[in-house]
Symmetry: C2
Subunit: 146 residues, 2 copies
């Protein structure tokens, strides 16, 4: 198995609402057959019915969490503390929920978090220890360990 991911699909309960949220943050994608595809670097971020997505991977959808943690968090690192603050302001205007106000965390970098309208968690951080390339990709630094 090559070390790569082709798609990340977020299960949503209201596609129009989810699409509008990401569009309000500046994302642009394509909608086809009740699915929204966003190009996100070398992979696709996809919005699709939570129930259909669950069944497509052979699982029972179960109840959609109104709050709480689904088990996965996405991180969006930016290039300055000011960019963190600006993105959080945009998230609030777009109807997201700030779940962790921006502050320097215990590891020493400026970090915050929000959830989208379906409760999917995003960290937003400025972490100079994980430098971003010009194209936004990140290379995990060599920690010098095993």
């Amino acid at each position: 198995m090559e070390q790569r991911i082709t798609l990340i699909t977020l299960g949503v309960s209201d596609l129009a609402r989810a699409k509008a949220f990401y569009e309000a943050l500046g994302w642009r994608g394509q909608e086809i057959e009740e699915t929204v595809f966003f190009q996100a670097g070398g992979l696709g971020l996809v919005l699709w019915s939570r129930e259909k997505l669950a069944r497509d991977v052979g699982l029972e959808p179960g109840p959609a969490p109104t709050s709480g943690f689904g088990g996965i968090a996405l991180a969006h690192n930016v290039r300055s503390e000011a960019e963190v603050d600006a993105l959080l302001a945009a998230v609030e205007r777009a109807g997201g929920t700030i779940t962790k106000p921006a502050a320097v965390n215990t590891v020493g970098f400026y970090s915050s978090a929000f959830t989208d309208p379906d409760g999917h968690a995003w960290e937003v951080a400025y972490n100079p220890g994980f430098p971003l390339a010009d194209d936004g990709t990140v290379t995990i630094p060599d920690f010098g360990g095993a």
Copy 2:
């Protein structure tokens, strides 16, 4: 907000077990401070305590699902049906759970799914409609719509 993702962090209940699973599938990463970082194309796939991850994004961890759907699925597309079958066999040997046996789906491509030891869902597919570049990145095709 640029259309990109820096990290995908999977909350896990047993880091050693989760790390061993992905290593058995061929992934190689670095472990530091009870966290495993894998380079996955232009982003990082991270394994970290489910409870710590939840609190880090300002959410309550809640009960870890023993089965069921967390709301997000990752997809790993490959270049042939035989590659799908080979990966599923490796998943079974590594202790993953096949949740959808490989078959041509209703959309017309060869697709399957599994869950890792923490229940995180992966689709494994050969979809000629989403061609992979040599470096494994995918470009969402132009669907010709809005």
